[in-house]
Symmetry: C2
């Protein structure tokens, strides 16, 4: 079983990690609030922000709120700024979902910000991803969703059975349960059995923003007959694929949404399908999944 | 179950990671061989090496083999140097075990070096650690070994059921099987069922050397009645401890060998006993186990 995962001619798993960790060779300025670096703004994006000096001060080496903005006004001020950036086309259309902006992942929010604007400021974001797996005899299968063709991000790509960004005000588990109901019509009692198993992290400049993402990973044994079906229109269809087929798709195609292979590679590592004896890149994969090479701290 | 692991007044799990990642505020010089940095030598240790200029060249900003040493002579030359360093008391007594010195963890060896001298040169080393666990109903237990009182390193401390450094010439799995037989009298057929589940990494200056260690972690379900007993005199006794008790010992005592809590914290994360909802330090733990804050690359 261990030997199935890697062949000489393959696209390496490491390539998926590299694809999630691309940065432009342009300088990034820290966005500093209350003496903490909350985000990293690319120089050309910082230049755009110079037009909004009533809200953001752009200095030579860092950004901060304009001196006139009080702590209690951060959230309102950012909302006004995001509206203007959206109107000017610098930020993707609003999704009307508020993200927590905090000193570190899952710490209490200093203020909240429209999800669509988070990456413009290079602010750390997080989400939950679920590996829904089925064991049949000694064979492992994964439930894989195909994203609807009308989704704004990565339409038609393959995805985990359940995945979603982390909105403000929910625990990770409650978010997972909510997403599992919406995306896969999974009963609450079943979703509650999902087990937190770690996290992966990456840092990617998408051209419109810097995604500094942490994905909290969950495993759920679905051997007992649950069949997912989509409830919110975000997923086109679900497929129960053998692990061999999932690995083949990761190695030979770009069919997966860009960040999903990281969650699955972590699954392969934790379940013993990869080892340092059979995978040359093992240490680099283990470290890369946690962003060891990141220029920007967690 | 998730709530049992952390109490407000506890020593944090993060402290164990910090304890494994202490460096002196003295500069370290890279030890460069064939244009690759193989090790990091503290300035005061580099000064000692100036006495052995026939083998090692110590420059202002790096160390290398003396120009007269050919590639094929690296291993012999280092062996001579280590003998002299051991005689002079700079390196602990030889253990007559050869470690691979490679461009990166588990890559082909450029040369081999006596295990006792690896940390003097700050060369990356690796080993295998096994979590031997038992499930009874919904309760989790771990087999914990107590190290013999006459061991050179950390006598009397608590350890994983099986753990050992990685000697030259064995696969990780074969080493695990060998150590499992020697340390716990575990049959080969049982040890072969151990599952590779990832790795943890740390970087620690012990005062006599810089340990840049990667521990490859394995899980083995021992629910079916195996009772370990020591075969090589390195372990005093084995104890089947509830996970609650293991966690209490990690939080309230220094009873574990310094690097073992990292392996167990990784186990807690992978098996869902910690989550970002119940553990404030979760992201820092996940990253810290992989050495995200290391000043020295993998």
């Amino acid at each position: 079983m261990e030997n199935m995962v890697r062949k000489e001619e393959d696209v390496t798993y490491l390539n998926h990690i590299r694809d999630c960790n691309r940065l432009e060779s342009i300088s990034y300025l820290p966005f500093i609030v209350q003496e903490t670096t909350l985000g990293w703004v690319r120089q050309d994006r910082a230049n755009i922000l110079k037009e909004y000096g009533d809200i953001i001060s752009v200095r030579d080496s860092f950004l901060s709120f304009a001196p006139s903005i009080a702590t209690s006004e951060y959230e309102t001020a950012i909302a006004v700024l995001v509206d203007r950036l959206t109107e000017a086309g610098h930020v993707a259309p609003k999704r009307n979902e508020l993200y927590d902006v905090a000193r570190r992942v899952r710490a209490p929010a200093l203020f909240r910000m429209e999800r669509a604007a988070v990456s413009f400021f290079g602010i750390a974001a997080c989400g939950v991803h679920l590996n829904g797996y089925v064991r049949k005899n000694d064979n492992m299968f994964l439930w894989i969703g195909k994203r609807a063709n009308d989704r704004r991000i990565e339409p038609g790509k393959l995805d985990n059975i359940v995945a979603g960004g982390q909105p403000s005000g929910l625990s990770l588990r409650d978010n997972l349960i909510k997403e599992a109901a919406e995306e896969a019509a999974m009963p609450r009692t079943l979703a509650m059995r999902a087990r937190p198993v770690g996290m992966v992290r990456y840092c990617l400049d998408t051209g419109t923003g810097l995604r500094r993402d942490t994905l909290f990973c969950y495993d759920l044994d679905l051997s007992e007959g649950f069949i997912p079906h989509n409830a919110d229109g975000e997923t086109d269809s679900f497929h129960l694929l053998s692990l061999e087929e999932v690995c083949r798709l990761m190695r030979e195609t770009k069919d997966f949404k860009f960040n999903v292979p990281l969650v699955i590679i972590d699954f392969l590592i934790r379940h013993g399908y990869l080892s340092a004896d059979n995978e040359t890149d093992y240490a680099a994969l283990c470290l890369g999944l946690h962003g060891v090479e990141h220029p920007f701290p967690a």
